[in-house]
Amino acid sequence: MPDLSVDIGGLKLKNPIMTASGTFGYGEEYASFINLNDLGAIIVKGLSLKPRMGNPPPRIIETASGMLNAIGLQNVGVQAFIEKKMPYLRTLEVPVIANILGENAEEYQQIAELLSRAPGVAALEVNISCPNVSKGGIAFGANPESAMDVVRRVKSVTDLPVIVKLSPNVTDIAMIAEGVESAGANALSLINTITGMSVDIERRIPHLKNITGGLSGPAIKPIALRMVWQVVNRVRIPVIGVGGIMDATDALEFLIVGATAVQIGTANFINPQSTIHVLNGLVAYMEKRHIRDIHELIGTLTC
């Protein structure tokens, strides 16, 4: 068995396969399909200070090799997460990463503080990029100053590793990446969904009630890969690749480009065992080529 362990800004993972926030519920939803402890880490549904109802339906529509979603960050809120979801998650051995989102910089700080006191949270992933809610993360992720402000505030109240999830809906993602690195981020994850839309030509209305939504799935993988490649060349902290990974080949592309780990998102919807299939495929690839350590793969792209 090759060594798959990686270090994400101080967080040790036994393998680089993580679940993307918002595609894996609070973990328990997938417990009847896979052994959750086989994963590198679980990233749970994004948490806000107060519970959020989410957007009115229709919330999803399939597009070419992808899907648009405008769930509206529906979640139980940080308090209920700690009281009702953490007890189950603490029974697992797998590291649990809490994804957090705020309507203003103070909220990010408050949520980070609450989660840092809750036993069982291994790291924070700061969502500065969700494009779905008008008062949501978009303003933070779109410019370096507001993104850096959020990161500094979160870092000031936590000792947990802080991963910052970047938005692709920007002109220069590497510039934002450099900014949040200098503000103290321990790792980056990218990309979040790409804002898109789809129209019902019979009724001449948007397919989504929210009008626009976040595009995910295989359709966005080339864009995600390009952005990861740009960012790994500009920062020193670990980068987690996410965007349209469906199988081990997709995951390997991200690792070769320089991602230290990957997140599986939309693929969880199509096959709830996708994470394990990717992991098994990765191991098979390494064994076939006698690669004994995953670091012999990471960032080995020849251009």
């Binding site: 595609t23 339906p57 399939e62 090799s65 769930i71 295989p218 199509i270 096959n271």
Partner: protein, 283 residues
């Protein structure tokens, strides 16, 4: 821990075009499934393709245990590229399946006249339910209600036009009474199936009635208005777009009553698809 879900593959036995845009697909499962109930659904997708990407939730139209294994039957309508791709499948093609999922219809106790009210493709889960009710009547150990031996099942089926009345073959085998409506009058009563029920309700003993329904949202909405003044219990099967079917994507939310908040969104996949009609809220 939830019960074990059937995740795996199925092989298309046949996929028959039964009416314009309507198909009946039967799948032979790779593993046995003996706990599928009417009202439940299965996520189905063509194996090995990325476009269409997502599975489609199809409600069960029939389940049979054969010597070769479990056969699942689906009656579905082509509405978009996902169902269109499913309709192109032929015998021998492989599909990925996940299910059975969701809450089934509950057999109401102490109701000896059950009315199953279907609009269009809504006939699929209700025809399976009619079959289930008829078959369980023949099993004394399961007919635990005093009323079950004398239970009557009426099937109300409405469609836009006679050509779109689907599932009748199965319905005729298992229901004592069938009432038909079409919007254009090409078969049965002219008007909606809810209007037909409204007319019939006058002569029926409401204390004996139990209602089950599945159909387009406007139909369910007018049904909820129709029975509001009456104490007739009614279970409805709802349909929404969904990506995962297991409560993770939160794509299939509908608005329901909530005791503490007034209203809340809940997931059709895990908290439905069968709901008490009086739990639903309309915009």
């Amino acid at each position: 821990m939830k019960k074990k879900l059937n995740l795996g593959s199925g092989c298309v036995i046949e996929n028959v075009n039964v009416a314009k845009d309507h198909f009946v697909m039967s799948l032979l499962l790779a593993s046995t499934c003996d706990d599928a109930l009417p009202g439940q659904f299965v996520m189905v997708r063509k194996q090995g393709v990325k476009d269409p990407l997502l599975s489609r939730p199809l409600s069960l139209y029939g389940v049979y245990q054969t010597e070769a294994g479990t056969v699942l039957e689906f009656l579905y309508r082509v509405v978009g590229k996902g169902t269109w791709a499913l309709s192109r499948l032929t015998g021998g093609d492989q599909v990925d399946i996940l299910g059975p999922l969701g809450k089934p219809f509950d057999v109401m106790p102490n109701r000896n006249h059950l009315i199953l009210l279907a609009g269009g493709i809504g006939a699929a889960p209700l025809a399976f339910f009619a079959e289930y009710l008829a078959k369980n009547l023949d099993r004394p150990e399961e007919s635990n209600q005093d009323a079950s031996s004398s239970r009557k099942v009426s099937f109300y089926l409405g469609a836009t036009t006679a050509d779109a009345l689907v599932g009748l073959g199965k319905i005729e085998r298992f229901c004592a009474e069938i009432r038909i409506s079409t919007d254009d009058g090409s078969a049965g009563f002219t008007g909606t199936v809810t209007e037909l029920l409204q007319k019939d309700l006058i002569g029926l003993d409401h204390r004996n009635l139990g209602l089950y329904s599945c159909g387009p949202a406007p139909m369910i909405r007018s049904l909820s208005r129709l029975i509001e003044p009456f104490a007739i219990p009614c279970q409805v099967s709802m349909e929404e777009r969904m990506a995962c079917g297991i409560g993770a994507c939160l794509g299939c939310s509908i608005k329901v009553r909530d005791a503490s908040l007034g209203w809340a969104y809940c997931q059709v996949c895990t908290e439905g698809p069968v709901f008490d009609i009086r739990e639903l809220l309309w915009e």
